[in-house]
């Protein structure tokens, strides 16, 4: 019975999707198995790898994690070079194109000829003979080829360098390529998503950076010193954690004064998410510190007269780095979801700033969803980012423990 076979201890079995045989399993099983020679020599071969090499192999063997890493790199570079990737200025609306649907990229002409260079048709609005509503109709008389790496409207690369080079675009400003449609004011949704990613994605990184700083310092000190400081910190953490996080985020975010400028609101939200989010990391680090501080290498450092600051900095924190990185990676999507949810509900970042949650809030009306379903595209970006971070973090977790 295969159920039984797979669960008998001692039989070596590879972890799911892993190229590595379980070394400890092989060692245990070797007394029973006829393939003693094979498993021992295999174990020897792997012992030659350094820990770092082992970790790399472990990470690369998790295909979803590797794929996610590439997706994340692509998303972050897209937003870093937003001006280059986005074909239009995100605030530049063409009222004629209010709620115009995505323009399909075409490769086949009306005559049926295939062209390698994609082209689009311009849009004109016509009153429908059935519903008497204005409808967008493609003007198939003129083809507007899409050119790559063309000079278009000026923008500032990375917010500093003036540039005009754009990844793609048409030469006729009247025929726009809107890969993901247009919003109410006729602004290109794709450009807005690309720029909105700057807020959505950076909130995760900046917020988590603050969290890591707070969580690891407070957690280490509280675990290392114990005593009243520890009780105080534990009590504070317990109180913060007993509040459900989204309502608490909402309550504090709603208290940000409406008079603040959008940049300050953004900073306020990042700080708020970080101040409420460090507790999980602090708990984990405290637990690790408690188990580490009885270990010989810390006792040896103490005995040789190292100061507390040195022990924490040189011995405790480096030992915990991999755990902190894994926890931090998995905290990024939570922070991104937090900002998206707040902005979606209208108590997060404010226009003219854009974030994916804020863009999605434009779709938060039944009529809009029914008539202009492309307004849901920002949801796809949030979803892909969160998934990628979770799969990536999962891969890192396996990587942090290369001997399992």
């Amino acid at each position: 019975m295969s159920d039984r076979r797979t669960s008998v201890p001692g039989v070596p079995e590879p972890a799911p999707g892993s190229a590595l045989p379980a070394v400890s399993g092989a060692a245990r099983g070797s007394t029973l198995e006829p393939t003693v020679e094979a498993s021992v020599s295999e174990a020897d071969a792997y012992r030659l790898l350094t820990v770092r090499q082992l970790m790399w192999r472990k990470f690369l063997s998790n295909r979803l994690a590797v794929l996610s890493a590439f997706v994340l790199i692509a998303l972050y570079s897209m937003t870093a070079f937003a001006g280059f990737v986005a074909p239009y200025d995100p605030q530049d609306g063409v009222s004629r194109l209010s709620y115009a649907p995505p323009t399909p990229l075409r490769f086949r002409t009306e005559e049926g000829d295939f062209t390698l260079r994609p082209f689009v048709y311009g849009l004109k609005s016509e009153r429908s003979t059935k519903t008497f509503m204005l409808e967008f109709v493609e003007d198939t008389s003129v083809r507007h080829p899409v050119y790559f790496l063309e000079h278009g409207e000026p923008y500032r690369l990375l917010g500093i360098f003036p540039a005009t080079l754009r990844l793609f675009g048409t030469r006729d400003p009247d025929a726009r390529v809107s890969l993901m449609g247009n919003d109410q004011r006729g602004r290109d949704l794709f450009s807005r998503i690309v720029y909105g990613g700057q807020v959505s994605l950076s909130v995760g990184l900046v917020g988590v950076a603050i969290m890591v700083l707070l969580g690891s310092v407070i957690g280490t000190l509280s675990g290392y010193f114990g005593g009243w400081f520890d009780s105080l910190v534990q009590r504070a953490i317990e109180t913060l954690r007993v509040f459900p996080e989204i309502p608490l985020w909402m309550a504090l975010s709603a208290a940000i004064p409406p008079t603040w400028s959008p940049e300050w609101v953004y900073a306020g939200i990042v700080v708020l998410l970080a101040l409420l989010g460090w507790t999980g990391l602090a708990r984990e680090v405290r637990g690790l510190t408690l188990s580490l501080k009885r270990r010989d290498f810390v006792l040896a450092a103490e005995a040789s007269g190292a100061s507390t600051a040195r022990i924490v900095r040189r011995h405790l924190i480096p030992t915990m780095t991999s755990h902190i990185i894994v926890t931090a990676t998995l905290a990024v999507p939570v922070t991104i979801i937090g900002e998206s949810a707040l902005s979606f509900l209208g108590i997060g970042v404010r226009p003219p700033m854009m974030s994916w949650g804020l863009l999605l809030s434009d779709a938060f009306k039944v009529q809009v969803i029914a008539l202009y379903p492309w307004m849901l595209f920002p949801a796809l970006f949030i979803l892909v980012t969160v998934l990628a971070f979770n799969f990536f973090g999962d891969g890192l977790r396996d990587m942090a423990d290369p001997f399992s």
């Binding site: 799911p16 007993v242 459900p244 309502p247 309550a251 209208g346 108590i347 969803i369 999962d394």
Partner: protein, 331 residues
């Protein structure tokens, strides 16, 4: 859990309770201006009427505006013992206790039902995945679980709204009842209507819990299946079913109970945010409206009640664990 440990736990919870009320009070105090002035302004705009000065003075006296923060805090907390949590601006000065009382039942109902759905589906799947380790089905389930864990509740709700509009009912605008049954008394038809509307929000709500429960159940059971008592049970000649269900799975459930305290906040979070998006009659929508309108007594009280719920939930989880795990009970 000995009586002594239980008392200690209760005392600690009591301290946390006080801290919760302080944080909630801080939330009430955060926005500029006080609640009464806001209400007076609103009354003047909406009703065009001025509040009688006597009422105004009475309210100021009752909630201690203009006095120091500790006095205000004590007056606010003192009201709890008389069932007075302040009044709401957006509900025309109705007592907060009344608004909250009307909706708290549905909130808990959703949380508890989604917990039952999550466990009811995830535990059998976890057992299945653990007993079919490294098979394709295990791999598939594990990845679906990670996927389910990643989807934010509010996105699911938006997507559901999208699906509901396109596929189900073009007039659907949220809520748990069709308009015909909105204010009707309970009857069989109303119950059927309610369950039809409830099913999908409940499912959305359970997905996160399901994914988490599944992962823990699978990992726990895998650990346990490697242990000697399982081997012994097999050696005795017990049927595989009995080994798994009566010996291993029975124990693998314990960590789930101790994680109940961590799972409840997730479900409560989901309930609140899904309720806001789909306009379900829970505490979510009034909380959201209160925050937007800076109706702080209502917002602060809801926040506090949610926190207290979780505190009580944690206590119950501890008691349940003591009941199901003799080691916790004795030691």
């Amino acid at each position: 859990m000995s009586v002594r440990a239980l008392l200690g736990r209760l005392a600690s919870a009591l301290v946390t309770l006080v801290l919760i009320s302080i944080v909630s009070f801080a939330v009430i105090q955060l926005p500029p201006g006080d609640v009464i002035s806001n209400w007076v302004t609103q009354q003047e705009i909406v009703a065009g009427s001025n509040l009688p000065p006597a009422t105004y003075e009475m309210l100021r006296e009752r909630y201690g505006f203009g006095e120091s923060l500790p006095v205000q805090y004590l007056k606010w907390v003192g009201g709890f013992f008389r069932g007075d949590f302040g009044f709401s601006v957006i509900y025309d000065g109705a007592p907060v206790a009344e608004i909250v009382g009307r909706r708290i039942g549905m909130t808990f109902l959703l949380v508890i039902l989604s917990l039952i759905v999550a466990w009811g589906i995830a535990i059998p799947l976890g057992i299945y995945a653990a007993t079919h380790k490294n098979r394709f089905s295990d791999y598939l389930l594990s990845n679906i679980a990670l996927f389910g864990l990643s989807i934010p509740d509010f996105l699911m709700a938006v997507v559901y709204l999208f699906v509901a509009v396109f596929l189900l009912d073009t007039n659907y605008v949220g809520g748990l009842f069709s308009s015909a049954y909105e204010n009707a008394p309970w009857s069989l038809e109303r119950l059927v209507d309610f369950l039809k509307h409830l099913a999908v929000p409940l499912f959305i709500l359970s997905i996160g819990g399901m994914a988490g429960t599944f992962r823990i159940m699978r990992a726990n059971l895998l650990d346990l299946l490697d242990q000697q008592f399982v081997e012994t049970a097999r050696a005795k000649g017990l049927a595989e079913r009995a080994v798994i269900y009566r010996h291993a799975a029975r124990i693998a459930i314990n960590p789930l109970i101790s994680r109940l305290g961590m799972q409840l906040p997730v479900l409560l979070n989901g309930t609140i945010i899904i309720s806001i998006v789909l306009d379900l009659p829970t505490l979510g929508p009034p909380f959201y409206r209160a925050l937007i309108a800076q109706d702080m007594y209502l917002a602060g009280t809801v926040l506090m009640i949610l926190a207290v719920t979780l505190l009580v939930g944690n206590l119950i989880a501890d008691l349940l664990l003591a009941w199901s795990d003799p080691r916790v009970r004795e030691g």
